[in-house]
Amino acid sequence: MAVRPIETDVTKTSIKKLPENLTGVISTEDLHVYYGDFEAIKGVSLEFPKNQITALIGPSGSAKSTYLRSLNRMNDEIKGAKVTGKILYKGRDINASDVDVYSVRKQIGMVFQRPNPFSKSIYENIAFALKRHGIKDKNVLDEAVETSLKQAALWDQVKDRLHESAIGMSGGQQQRLCIARAIALKPDVLLLDEPASALDPISTAQVEETLLELKENYSIVIVPHNMQQASRISDYTAFFHLGNVLEYDETRTVFTRPAIQATEDYVSGHYG
């Protein structure tokens, strides 16, 4: 395949505000992320709708994951990373230094690219975080494990082997366990960083189905691993390019009638 030089104009942007009938759950204002001297995110202002799935798309290197990770302050754990600007959640700027990041992450959960269950039992994987947050009552734990596994559409497959190691599960099951683990904490927002990229097509479909069901109770921001996934599951789409957001609108609009040429070129596969 011939490599086309990028001649697309990437200076134009079209960032839509959420319509009246949708409430925002988390938003950023002029968010910058630096790794040392390198500016990875160059001032992104977005508002994510409640109980909807928002996809962050864009060519590799456009810093979608970096942006996603700053939403629950996971970039704090990366050496040399600095995040400036505002992250507004429940009326507070959670990027402020006096905010308890641990309770932020409890409310804004995250699922990673690679399924990363602990090498413990299925039950323990979910109960682990709850115990750390002070829940000791066995009945409460049992119920939380069951509810979150049901929500992650995993309960029927694992209810008879809750005390077996999570490492023995298939990749798709492991990833849904990670989702169950994240939602056991009853977060408001669920961040997913290419959750299906390490999975086969069937597992991918299972995870996507799970996400569509979770939408009722959670607000989801996802970096999908390809554009098809974005168009299949998301309601809103933000198009990232080299640390900027060029277009943000309903997914339908972004994929069929994008407002700017750069988005058009990207979603039609001309570059990226």
Binding site: E77, Y102, V104, F112, P117
Partner: protein
């Protein structure tokens, strides 16, 4: 194509080089195996002579508390009870490992989780320096610093298992720490991320996730440290007092297998009971180091980090 076909069956220089390299490495391997086997054979065959040639009963050797080779009791049995040394060796090994474990794991956590920068800049060179100090220097420091310190602290001569434990503790610290660092570094990054993403604090992550996942590696580190402590001779000999009696306190002179060996090996005649019984002590050391090896391998197999 024709050309390739023609050249294939011939013996090229490259093929010869290949063969040459293979042969050299095979010879080297065989040499090592041969050396190990002959050492094993030599030590064990000498060590067993105590029981086969000199008719010392195994029970008397392992459970006897009188160590006066060359002398016999009233019934004519040789006084070669090795229990004092066996006890001494195990006690100082276990105690020094017990002291070194929290310190080295703590240092390793600092170096990998808390402050990798300071760890690499300050602690790493310090540990490498500690490794390079010859054991006679450790012993010398033990003799001039630790022994008087113990003497002042609890009285007596200062020589004994306490001094030996303290010296060994410092000696095995670099081994256990650097291996613990490796174990912690081997814990996949995504374990930590998973914990952080669920609102785990740094301490919860270290204690509940990283240390748990690194447990087999940490155990291996400790066993390696114990192996080193068990086999250390010179430094221990200089501070333990070398009295072949069952110690009744940590601050009275005692002895270890290695200290008795180094003290006496030059003073016995080959082939006599006095000499052969030293080989028996050496056999115990050899077998124990084999045991330590097997244990570390077993831990490694059981607890390899999965996923």
């Amino acid at each position: 194509m024709e050309q390739i076909k023609d050249t294939q069956p011939t013996r090229s220089t490259k093929r010869n080089q290949e063969r040459f390299g293979k042969t050299i490495s095979l010879i080297a391997t065989l040499l090592i195996v041969l050396v190990v086997l002959s050492i094993l054979f030599f030590v064990l065959s000498r060590g067993l002579r105590t029981f086969t040639q000199h008719d010392v009963s195994v029970l008397d050797f392992f459970a006897g508390t009188e160590w006066r080779p060359g002398e016999t009791d009233d019934a004519g049995n040789a006084l070669v009870g090795a229990l004092p040394m066996i006890v001494g060796s195990f006690v100082v090994t276990l105690l020094s490992a017990l002291l070194a474990t929290p310190v080295s794991i703590g240092a390793a956590v600092f170096m990998t989780e808390v402050s990798p920068k300071a760890g690499k800049k300050i602690l790493q060179p310090a540990i490498e320096l500690l490794v390079g100090i010859p054991s006679v220097v450790y012993g010398f420091i033990g003799l001039t610093v630790v022994v008087p310190f113990v003497r002042q602290l609890v009285g007596g001569t200062g020589f004994g298992m306490l001094a030996g434990t303290l010296v060994l503790f410092v000696m095995i610290l670099p081994t256990t720490t650097s291996m613990a660092v490796d174990a912690l570094n081997a814990v996949p990054r995504h374990y930590r991320e998973a914990s952080f993403a669920m609102g785990g604090t740094r301490w919860q992550t270290i204690y509940r996730v990283v240390l748990r996942a690194a447990m087999p590696g940490l155990l291996t580190a400790i066993v390696f440290g114990m192996a080193r402590a068990f086999g250390e001779a010179l430094a221990v000999q200089m501070v333990i007092g070398n009295a072949p009696v069952l110690p009744d306190s940590f601050t009275t002179p005692a002895s270890t297998l290695t200290s008795i060996l180094t003290m006496n090996m030059g003073n016995t005649v080959f082939g006599t009971l006095e000499n052969d019984v030293l080989w028996s002590l050496a056999s115990i050391l050899l077998v124990m180091s084999l045991v330590f090896n097997i244990v570390t391998r077993w831990i490694g197999k059981k607890g390899a980090i999965k996923g």
